[in-house]
């Protein structure tokens, strides 16, 4: 089915969004109507910002966070529905727009969908939204029956007056409920009474993804729409010098060549294929700028110097680590490194924009509708109230589509050159690879002392390298400190804390920023910090002649949640019991994004060095498990992402630009390499942690430690493809 929407509907959607406070709005492209070319359903008044109940008892739950595959749409709907006591079979969802959020004083809170925050940071207010709506619906029924509200109960979208057994449905009283004043005192259910939260519910968004009906940003079609392809100076920081427009203007379908900002050029044509091929034929001269000679090899030297530099900022400190190590019976030291990674979402960056002097609208897959809205307004040169962003489903996010909206700015800049005409900008895979917001590059020197009994006396960790915040939010850096650098290494607390109790400790960071733009890449700094820490802990266990599990347990004695997931993974994997011949195990435990995770990997390495990851047992404690089957899906996906990076992933700079430009040079894991994954969910309750990211950080260390067990080789620089595992 075509995704084309009628002009009437397109304009209606625009108008509805233009007017403020349109209650019961129906956004264009809500999947049940607009995306299928049907007129939007007549407006039904909302019960509150989170809940609309239609006369036919359909419940529309509004979701502010973005669905990008991680299941947050379903999880958040479960949370609202749990308190609403509605019929789950009649639940649908829709996105409120950032423009509406702005106009309504941010009634839906934060739209940002990153840092595995979707559920953990909005769980309380979305549950309250559901509870409030339920109380209003029940009140409306009681008012209609003229009975005390205390005599009424609600379940499955049906309200019952218990003394008389009279019943009515949510759909029948929703209009009356919408006129009531919302209650202020709201009590949420005790988790032990949950009926929907914690259950292995099917996702709400699966069917259309199996039939081709699901509309992603790239699939959008608007009346009169043109298509654009873009090239930005491949050298970071370079600019556009000149372009020979005339060379392509006569090509079929080509409408315009647009200079975008000072560093990019786009071709607008009737189809994207024509735009892309014209762009490929377009003579462009770049000014490569100050980074023309930048290279990863040269920058590695800068990072190396940072390992011993004196300008480091402290992240975590206990006692005098250097003195403790100096006085130790044994000293162990190692240097690790981690390369740039590209998010490489399956759907490349894209946005459709329509600009007039009065109004700018953008349709785009984004992890943060509000940030996309701000970027659009800025690029449009219009006040935010005259701009709107319609979020479309994301073909992957992984952090690429949240912090910077470079593609949105470009799309608006192009649309601005063609007032009134919607233009869809799609990045080619090559453009997407050359202009990512890359996982930061770092090196780390670890030093530790052991006493005669093999106990750790002091532990030092110097991180040298790139700060994400310096690149995307420099205002968040205080006193030269980027706190995100220390993920997984923080002092005891609820976020990304180091579990190990070292008698003396120093973790510090010497900031060294290359020309490469950094970004939040799924798992963020927990990824490499966990490799550095957990592989080195394995080195220490080995140096102390102790079992890696026993060695960790001792150091985790005061970190019961870290310990519990470690034990859960080790026990389920059968740590200490015999493996199949040639199979070896490796462990890892960490904490981040509010959750505790551990893994035990089983690998074999053939005589000629071929690695096979057979099985990974992963344990995760996110506090509450909202949807266990989706947690399992996230854990499995995390291993694919983490192992892709560990085995093959690196983006390297040469002559100022990225060398990897498609999946032959940036190789993701494929099905033949996928291990069996067993997920143990240890939901210990009392806190809310994320699940989309933390597990990625245990993938590589568990496998690297197992490789050491198998071969005696310590791999300290990733990816593995650069090393031979061949038996000497």
């Amino acid at each position: 089915m075509s995704a084309t929407i009628s002009r009437r509907q397109f304009l209606a959607g625009s108008a509805a969004a233009a007017g403020s406070l349109v209650i019961g709005f129906h956004i264009p492209f809500a999947r049940d109507a607009a995306a299928q070319g049907m007129p939007a359903a007549p407006a039904t008044p909302e019960v509150n910002a989170w809940v609309v109940v239609r006369p036919d008892d359909t419940v529309v739950i509004r979701i502010a966070r973005s669905e990008m595959g991680q299941g947050t749409l379903t999880g958040l709907a479960q949370m609202v529905a749990e308190e609403l006591e509605c019929n789950w079979a009649k639940v649908t969802t829709e996105y409120p727009t950032p423009g509406q959020n702005l106009a309504r004083n941010r009634v839906w809170g934060n739209f940002s969908t990153g840092g595995s925050r979707g559920i953990r940071e909005s769980q309380e207010y979305v549950r309250k939204g559901g509870a409030t709506a339920r109380m209003m619906l029940v009140q409306a029924a009681a008012d209609e029956w003229k009975v005390p509200v205390a005599e009424c109960t609600a379940a499955n979208s049906v309200i019952t007056h218990t003394p008389t057994s009279r019943t009515t449905t949510y759909g029948k009283v929703a209009a009356a409920a919408s006129k009531l004043t919302p209650p202020t005192a709201v009590t949420l259910k005790d988790p032990k009474d949950w009926k929907l939260v914690g259950k292995r519910m099917a996702r709400l968004d699966t069917v259309d993804k199996t039939t081709g009906k699901q509309i992603y940003g790239m699939d959008l079609k608007l009346p009169g729409m043109l298509n654009a392809a873009i090239k930005r100076c491949p050298v970071f920081g370079g600019t556009l010098k000149s372009v020979d427009e005339a060379a392509v203007m006569k090509r079929p379908g080509v409408k315009k060549v647009v200079r975008v900002g000072n560093d990019a050029v786009a071709v607008v044509a009737d189809t994207w294929w024509r735009a892309k091929t014209a762009l490929d034929a377009l003579p462009i001269v770049w000014d490569n700028g100050p980074n023309a000679n930048a290279s990863s090899a040269a920058f590695a030297e800068v990072l190396k110097a940072g390992l011993d530099a004196t300008d480091a900022v402290v992240g975590n400190k206990v006692g005098d680590a250097a003195a403790a190590i100096a006085a130790s019976a044994k000293k162990v030291e190692a240097v690790y490194s981690y390369p740039h990674q590209n998010h490489a979402t399956m759907e490349t960056m894209n946005a459709t924009a329509r600009w007039t002097p009065e109004r700018c609208e953008v349709w785009t897959p984004t992890q943060n509708g509000e940030a996309a809205h701000a970027a659009a307004a800025e690029a449009a040169g219009l006040p935010p109230a005259q701009c709107e962003v319609y979020k479309l489903l994301l073909g992957g996010g992984f952090g690429r589509r949240g912090a910077v909206h470079d593609w949105v700015r470009q799309a608006v800049a192009i649309a601005k050159e063609m007032p009134g005409t919607p233009v869809k900008l799609i990045w080619s895979r090559e453009e997407d690879m050359l202009h990512g917001s890359y996982h930061p590059v770092t090196q780390c020197k670890l030093t530790a002392g052991l006493d005669a009994q093999g106990n750790v006396t002091g532990f030092q960790m110097r991180i040298s390298g790139q700060s994400i915040l310096a690149g995307v939010a420099p205002q968040a850096i205080k006193d030269g400190k980027d706190p995100v650098v220390f993920q997984g290494l923080n002092p005891p607390g609820p976020e990304a804390s180091l579990g190990y109790a070292f008698p003396a400790l120093l973790v510090d960071h010497a900031m060294r920023n290359p020309s490469t733009p950094p970004g939040f890449w799924r798992g963020v700094n927990l990824n490499q910090n966990s490799i550095y820490l957990e592989c080195f802990i394995d080195e220490l266990a080995h140096a102390a002649g102790q079992d890696p599990l026993a060695f960790r347990r001792k150091l985790l004695a005061n970190s019961p949640k870290h310990l519990a997931v470690l034990n859960a993974a080790a026990e389920k994997a059968g740590w200490g019991t015999p493996t199949a011949p040639g199979v070896f195990r490796g462990l890892c435990v960490t904490m981040g994004f509010g959750s505790y995770v551990a893994a035990c990997a089983e690998v074999s390495v053939s005589n000629d060095g071929v690695l096979k990851v057979h099985r990974i047992v992963a344990a995760t404690d996110p506090g509450y498990a909202v949807n266990p089957q989706q947690i399992e899906a996230q854990v499995e996906g995390s291993f694919v992402y983490g192992l892709s990076a560990a085995l093959y992933g690196e983006c390297t700079v040469k002559d100022g630009r990225m060398e990897q430009d498609n999946f032959h040079t940036y190789v993701p894991l494929r099905m033949n390499e996928m291990p069996a994954v067993e997920t143990v969910i240890v939901a210990s309750g009392g806190f809310w942690g994320g699940v989309g990211e933390p597990t990625i950080a245990v993938a590589a260390p568990a496998v690297l430690n197992a490789i050491f067990a198998a071969t005696g080789k310590r791999i300290r620089d990733l990816p593995l493809k650069n090393h031979s595992l061949k038996k000497a």
């Binding site: 292995r200 979402t345 399956m346 799609i426 694919v640 494929r670 996928m674």
Partner: protein, 167 residues
């Protein structure tokens, strides 16, 4: 006007020489279920069937596909998502973001037609599509469910559906 037989219908289209089948499907024929992921036959997101053979449409010039050849896209795999592969995918909640899944499903449908009872090695060989979300294990499980006649419980996922049924 050039012609293609897509999903059982003869469709006319106009495109420049060399335009890949993928972009004719997406831009001329409005069949956006077939996705662009890499453009160079590496990812499989653009997989369609040509005379039953799974084919990466991003590197096949549309003009090279004869009007007599039968092209099937995800939209034409079944009238309403009722193909056993689609049903298994739905019941096992295989898709995450879903962007790669049209290609996955088309590759799996072709595999199961050629080998109704594929071994793991067969699956590894046929399913080389890239999924960045990491759905591989559920893809494998769903293929095995279809091979086993559609018994979704055999996957051991115990997913509760809105209609009360259990996978």
């Amino acid at each position: 006007m050039a012609k293609l037989n897509v999903n059982g219908k003869v469709r006319e289209y106009k495109a420049d020489p060399g335009t890949p089948l993928l972009w004719v499907l997406r831009e001329q024929l409005g069949l956006t279920g077939t996705k662009y992921g890499c453009g160079v036959a590496l990812c499989g997101a653009c997989t369609v069937h040509i005379n039953g053979v799974p084919t990466r449409s991003c590197v096949v010039p549309a003009a090279s596909v004869k009007a007599s050849a039968k092209v099937v896209t995800i939209e034409g795999l079944s009238p309403n998502g009722s193909h056993p592969v689609q049903k298994a995918w739905d019941k096992l909640d295989v898709p995450q973001c879903g962007f790669c899944q049209s290609g996955m499903i088309m590759a799996a449908a072709a595999l199961l037609k050629a080998k109704p009872n594929p071994t793991d090695a067969d699956i590894n060989e046929a399913m080389t599509n890239i999924c960045r979300c990491g759905t591989y294990n559920r893809v494998r499980a769903a293929i095995k469910v279809v091979a086993g006649g559609g018994d979704t419980k055999s996957a051991g996922l115990s997913i509760q559906h809105a209609d009360g049924s259990l996978t």
